[in-house]
Symmetry: C2
Subunit: 320 residues, 2 copies
């Protein structure tokens, strides 16, 4: 099944256009989890990695009925080496078992030969390791376009072999995004040129509702650009980071949606998974399920704020 | 010790400005190595990963007296998951034991918070895992600048905490590099703007010979741009891919060197490590050291071609 059709089905089923970032940081994992892992594995990388996995597992159990997708920031796992990578794969496997779509946020790229290896590593079943690996892979991968279109081709090829999708960095959410992304090509900014290319690739393989398999990352912190990009890329689903912790609001995020309230998946990570540390959610330190419940409350708050903003903008999907 | 001073000392000691890419591909590892690993580990990812390590070990044993540095393409290892990552670390440890400088060619980047985690994962001893990990890290990491300067800062900070260095992608060697890298800023190409920024960062922390810790990737396939970039970035050491397999010649590569024959490290990967499959080197299939000897011959050929071109250009370092 086309990856964006899968995503749209999940978004509609849950009436929720949110993706939660499972970006665990050891020092912010509740102490009862860390203590249990230390007891079992000693003061080792295994203990650190196991803590992250148990933290994720509790979040997935609590959140999976509410949200359509999760996003895993690769850096959070790479920090713990092979043990961290194993937790990445275990989390992907569990999320897929719970029928969540999974975005591998690794922002990879390299020249063609290496790009093909990255595509195999993160999305596909590379013929190079056929027969060896049945490792669970994500449904989508984020990629960096700086090297040029010939480095994106191997990823697109792999996607079409395995019904997977990409989110290409078009406009990132950080303050200095404009420095290089607003360089000019034919009198328009570089990010618009990349957006035009993403639209072409995406239109090559659209699902039943007109959206293609090649999406774009469009920061919520740039609402005017997001509205322009929405028009430039009618076939392109947008992954929208920068909501909440990075300053993007629900009203700003709405500009990335199409007129029917689809076409954008709004990401939040720290504000949701670390909600248990936010006084607003008043969790009890003695209750082991409190951190996951706080995450659910934060996700519901975010969803409701988005739906209100969509409604105000006249974009709330019919039937939600 | 300043990372570029370390590199310069090694380059001078060996009179050789080459970095060999340890980018193993399982299907091109000699059969006797693969068979031994399969025998020990069965038809598993461990066997695949072990084959890559033994291949690397043979290459390192044969090449380490000849060359100053090796570069590991992360994608080749990520393809094999946690087992592959373990081989990456074992190879880094062995290379460092043999006094080789090591470049981690992972082309990472993300927004600030995640960039700091990547810097910890690939270069430093992140305080987040202090006490856990004594994993060997590379001396240099390649990074992608597309997201903007605020995403490079965490890497630079980590470098200065640990005496490590970066190579920032400025001009890649692939055919489509120009598509986005030649967007214009103030009427000059984006890659020159990035080069200017890299020069500023590099000049903040120069070693005894005037070169700084922040280097640049400059493709050998664009010799005119390389000459311009050499002038734009007087403090910046260049990592030059694209030699050989990608079409760059010794005469082209010479434009990345300064007037004294320093300032550039020319990379070759497949042409050296898979030289045993090149009829030119006539290896015996029954001799288990033949593949490593072929790599040595290919590396010597490449070095000699470069030194001849440097000499013709009047740039051969004194005493080489």
């Amino acid at each position: 099944m086309h990856p964006i059709d899968q995503l749209l089905a999940a978004v509609d089923r849950k009436a929720c256009p949110i993706v939660v970032g499972l970006d665990p940081v050891l020092s912010r994992v509740p102490e009862f989890i860390r203590r249990a892992a230390l007891k079992r594995y000693g003061n080792t990388l295994e203990a650190a990695a196991e803590s992250l996995f148990r933290f994720n597992r509790g979040l997935l159990a609590a959140l999976h009925r509410l949200i359509p997708a999760v996003k895993l920031q690769s850096a959070c796992y790479e920090l713990y080496g092979p043990e961290g990578l194993r937790v990445f794969h275990r989390t992907v496997a569990l999320a897929r078992k719970l029928k969540l779509l999974v975005i591998d946020d690794a922002k990879r790229n390299d020249i063609g030969h290496s790009a093909a290896l990255y595509a195999g590593a993160h999305l596909g079943r590379s013929p190079l390791i056929e027969g060896f690996s049945r490792r669970p892979k994500a449904d989508f991968l984020t990629v960096n376009p700086f090297l040029g279109s010939d480095t994106l081709s191997p990823f697109i090829t792999e996607c079409r072999r395995c019904d997977k999708g990409l989110f290409v960095l078009v406009r990132t959410s950080n303050p200095a995004a404009r420095e290089y992304q607003e360089a000019r090509i034919d009198n328009s900014p570089l990010y618009l040129k990349i957006a035009g290319d993403v639209q072409i690739w995406s239109a090559e393989n659209t699902g039943t509702r007109g959206y293609g398999d090649i999406g774009a990352v469009v920061g919520a912190t740039w609402p005017e650009e997001a509205a322009l990009l929405r028009r430039t890329m009618p076939s392109v689903y947008c992954l929208v980071p920068g909501y909440g912790a990075q300053g993007g609001t629900a009203d700003q995020a709405v500009s990335a949606f199409d007129a029917d309230g689809y076409g954008a998946l709004i990401n939040s990570s720290r504000e949701i998974i670390f909600a248990w540390q936010n006084p607003r959610y008043q969790t009890s330190p003695s209750d082991p399920s409190a951190y996951a419940e706080a995450a659910v409350k934060a996700a519901i708050n975010m969803r409701d704020a988005l739906l209100r903003s969509l409604k105000r903008a006249g974009k709330l999907p019919a039937g939600w």
